[in-house]
């Protein structure tokens, strides 16, 4: 699977993690702050401990990422759980929280791709697009909700890779190199997918309805 290999190297051996790799922008501020002490401890974690610690910090962000990719909360949880089960198997080779987060993300993206393939992507998306299903809304306000609906509706009509790129850049707040690693594509491809995706999104949301 493409996403398991980045630049011809195994996922878990990639050198020099970027500083951001430890966490997610919106979610893991506290974890990122503590990541230094985690790194010191993490080398001694058993697989069970690694799963527990990473679950506490990363489960919700991963489910949210999967939910954005899948539009199905329970399938999103399944994808995230698959990732933790896989991490347990490979922890002896990972042994690093930064690596582990990148690895979890890759597994989630792969599982989401598989899930989308299984259920026949495009039309299922359209059926699931009702605002009442996808928008939490309560505090968002009607106008904001409408705007969000519009842009998410447009996002979900994009091809899979373009959607992934936008979600990883603008929700997960990953750098280009991290998006490339997560998606198993080159940084050049990330750039071009991003440019094409934003152009397509702009056309869709700025088109008079």
């Amino acid at each position: 699977m493409a996403a398991r290999v980045s630049g011809g190297r195994g996922v878990v051996q990639a050198p020099d993690p970027l500083p951001e790799a430890a966490g997610w922008s919106a979610e893991a501020g506290s974890w990122r702050a503590e990541a230094g002490s985690w790194r010191a401890e993490a080398g001694t974690w058993s697989a069970d401990e690694a799963v527990t610690q990473l679950f506490i910090a990363q489960y919700r962000p991963l489910v949210r990422l999967a939910a954005l990719l899948l539009h199905d909360d329970s399938a999103a949880e399944e994808a995230a759980q698959d990732a933790f089960v896989a991490l347990h198997r490979t922890w002896s080779r990972v042994r690093d929280p930064d690596r582990a987060v990148a690895y979890l993300r890759q597994i989630v993206i792969n599982r989401c791709r598989s899930a989308l393939r299984r259920r026949g992507v495009a039309d299922r998306f359209l059926r699931r697009q009702g605002p009442s299903v996808t928008m939490p809304s309560a505090e968002a306000g009607a106008l904001a909700a409408e705007t969000h609906d519009e842009i998410l509706g447009a996002l979900n009509q994009l091809p899979t890779r373009q959607r992934e790129v936008l979600i990883l850049r603008f929700y997960a707040d990953l750098a280009e190199a991290q998006v490339a690693e997560a998606m198993g594509i080159s940084q050049g491809a990330v750039k071009s997918h991003t440019a094409r995706a934003l152009a397509a999104l702009r056309r869709r949301v700025e088109r008079p309805s």
Partner: protein
Amino acid sequence: MSLEDRLQAALEVRAAGTRTSPDALVTIRGRVRRSSRRRRGVLAGASALAVAVVAGAAAVALGSGPSVGTVATSSTPSSLTPSSAPVSPPPTSDSGPAPSARPSDRGLSSEPVYLVASTSDGDRLYREYHQLPGGELTERIAAAITEMIDKAPLDPDYRTGWPSGAGVRSVSIEAGVVVVDLTVPPTPPADPDLAVQQLIYTVTAVAAQAGRRDLTQVRLVGDLGWGLDTSEPLPRAAHLDVLAPVWLASPQEGAVVGRTFTVEVQGTVFEAAAVLRVRDGAGAVFDERPVQLSAGPPSRGLASLELTLPPGLYTLEAFYRSPNDGSEQAIDDHAITVR
């Protein structure tokens, strides 16, 4: 607002509305254990587990307990008699993740659900507490039966004794008897008698927990065509015949507890002598000690111990030693996290 900002805001709002299950970590651990067992080729079922996870419950006063690794034991009188008295949930108000009989703020209440697992004595019943919607007693009984039949047990060694496709049509209380109207597939399960006892124990435990200890009999109506005589109300079978010899009643699988917490063991074992073993996250034995239950056979005895452990992952194992050859029997083990 730029397109990128709008996209970011929309994604954040959408993501924030995503719900996650409170049992997710338990689910993951269960899957890990199942896949580990498959890889190791270990037979599941040798250690059947009693489980109930009440997410987030921990709450034992920290700092006031004995020093790390020490255990204080106190046996409490058994509330059980040899034959058919309901095995009501013992008092567990101070035992970590022990369930509360009262509905929580969210309208959920912790209800006993009996499940089947294999032991050296054959299939036996274990008990889990599940968070279920509150309501009238009959609604709570119906919800517990549905949970027992349909929902995956928290512990991977557990299963229901009921075939898929079974369900509850209605529950009523008539003249001191709980009447359960069931729809069941025609093919009987492997052990219809144990399945029926699984249901009767569940129903009467839910009733007892609600204060209706008088409801000790269940009449089954509907299309239960498994060759059982269900024309009369049925009581619980003797606990010696259907309950597992040892339960690690609390804490439950997946529980997250404070450093000092209460362990509760129940069972019917030779000379009331059970054993509690604590393994650390790597599986090494951290502590092992005898646990004297409050009563021996034919009664079901109880014991509660206060345990203080350093933060980390542990597996607690309760079992008894065979009087014949000293072998460990009926191991009931729970993986827990000490904060």
